[in-house]
Amino acid sequence: MSSLDAYFMREVANTPRGRGVLACIQCGRCTSSCLVARVVEEHNPRKLVEMIILGLRSEVLPGPLPWYCLSCFTCLDRCPQGGDVGETMFAIRNLAVREGNIPEGIAAQAQSLFETGRVVTPSRMALINREKYGLGKEPAVNVEAVQKILRKTSFDKLIYRGP
């Protein structure tokens, strides 16, 4: 058993969207409703919350556990306490990212957003087709404004790693 971080629950609870961790009565409805948990044994929302309460920070944050959730919010719908496991998941992810745990796919989308203002950029072919279909030019993004905002929130520091 890894060492316990007694303040992990407090840390999560005081992260935006993390308050839901305190609502948990450990009933298990989230897990049994979770589509991912049926396919991926490792993913278990009730267990994840229990791990947070117990203080297993070093097991939760670095690994893949924060990243299985679909954000389908079925658990949120079913949690009798109006607790937000799905929401809490964002709190955990925000913390995980700060620990350097960010999956490639997410990083790529985030970088794309920073660079182009979009998470998905249309291919050249798509742009040509648009005009062909009479849909006109694609609306332009004010990339400068986007970057101004994201620099202010230090978003860029979270998504660009390495030297």
Binding site: T15, P16, R17, L35, V36, R38, V39, V40, W67, Y68, L70, S71, C72, F73, T74, L76, D77, F90, A91, R93, N94, V97, I102, P103, G105, I106, A108, Q109, A110, L113, G117, R118, V119, V120, T121, P122, S123, A126, N129, R130, Y133, G134, L135, E138, P139, A140, V141, N142, A145, V146, K148, I149, L150, K152, T153, S154, F155, L158, I159
Partner: protein
């Protein structure tokens, strides 16, 4: 009706047919779509996962643009809807967080005032245009077509959570039935398509999509109809991958709701639009031919 038209990233990049159908329906029903100058990505879940305040600020920037236009926002995508709706609600309700976001927005000369509302295409039709007007516009009803509606998680759940409202999915059902089709019940109608896990864990995403498609197939649906471009992509494209990797064939055509409505209003799909569907629409188009 006039809306600030929020197109998002995915639709212009991958699903121009969806946009085309919406524009055609809008002009038929007298809905004006005003482009949002310089709008950015809605900041979907991938971005929310990275940083909370960045998400809110980016989404709020879009809201401010609409506010300045003096219009409500019309979105076509469940994820855009969720992100903008959540942000709008939160900033309206929570003064502390609004101040924090406005501090960031000040740098780009904007301020969130809480004067716009966020609507998704189906809700706009249902709430602002009205079911009657939609019904009156139907010229070639899809009588007898059995439709499995895929509302998608982010159409229904944010509403349910924040407004305790159960009607969001029902509105889409009513609209589908307005086209003459029958919205059937099936197992796991409310459940996820698996899309959000794409790029993170494709295999799991596929399994989840398969569970959904199994339910639709078992209920004897002719096709799937959705308003969400992610659900559309996952369930349409996903069927090819499921066939390849899991050796299971569902063969269920997937339509954007806007496409279904457009056809029912008597406007044929273009060839390029038909071709964009990975699962052929033959069955549905044949139905129209017979008419």
């Amino acid at each position: 009706m006039k809306y600030a038209f929020f197109l998002g990233c995915l639709i212009p990049a991958r699903e121009p047919g969806y946009e085309n159908s919406v524009r055609k329906i809008a002009s038929e029903l007298g809905i004006e779509l005003e482009e949002m100058e310089g709008a950015n990505c809605c900041a979907p879940f991938s971005i929310q996962s990275v940083d909370y305040i960045s998400w809110l600020a980016l989404a709020a920037r879009n809201l401010c643009i609409a506010e300045n236009m003096g219009l409500d926002i019309l979105t076509l995508c469940n994820d855009c809807y969720e992100s903008l709706l959540m942000t709008n609600t939160m900033l309206k309700e929570d003064k502390e967080i609004r101040n924090k976001v406005n501090e960031i927005l000040a740098d780009v000369g904007l301020e969130f005032k809480g004067k716009t509302n966020v609507k998704i295409f189906s809700d706009a039709l249902y709430e602002d245009i009205g079911l009657e007007k939609v019904k009156n516009a139907i010229k070639e009803p899809f009588n007898g077509l059995r439709v499995a509606v895929q509302p998608g998680c982010h159409l229904t759940k944010p509403k349910r959570i924040h407004f305790a409202e159960l009607a969001a999915a029902a509105a889409l059902d009513d609209l589908v039935e307005a086209t003459g089709a029958k919205s059937i019940t099936y197992e796991r109608k409310e459940s996820c398509c698996g899309g959000p896990l794409r790029g993170v864990n494709d295999e799991v995403a596929l399994h989840i999509a398969k569970q959904k498609l199994d339910g639709v197939k078992a209920a004897g649906a002719d096709c799937i109809v959705t308003v969400c471009p992610f659900c559309y992509f996952e369930l349409d494209m996903g069927q090819l991958e499921i066939k390849r990797h899991l050796n299971e064939e569902h063969n269920l055509p997937v339509l954007h709701f806007a496409e279904l409505l457009r056809m029912a209003m008597g406007m044929k799909l273009e060839d390029w639009e038909v071709r964009a569907h990975r699962i052929p629409l033959t069955k549905i188009l044949d139905m129209k031919e017979v008419k």
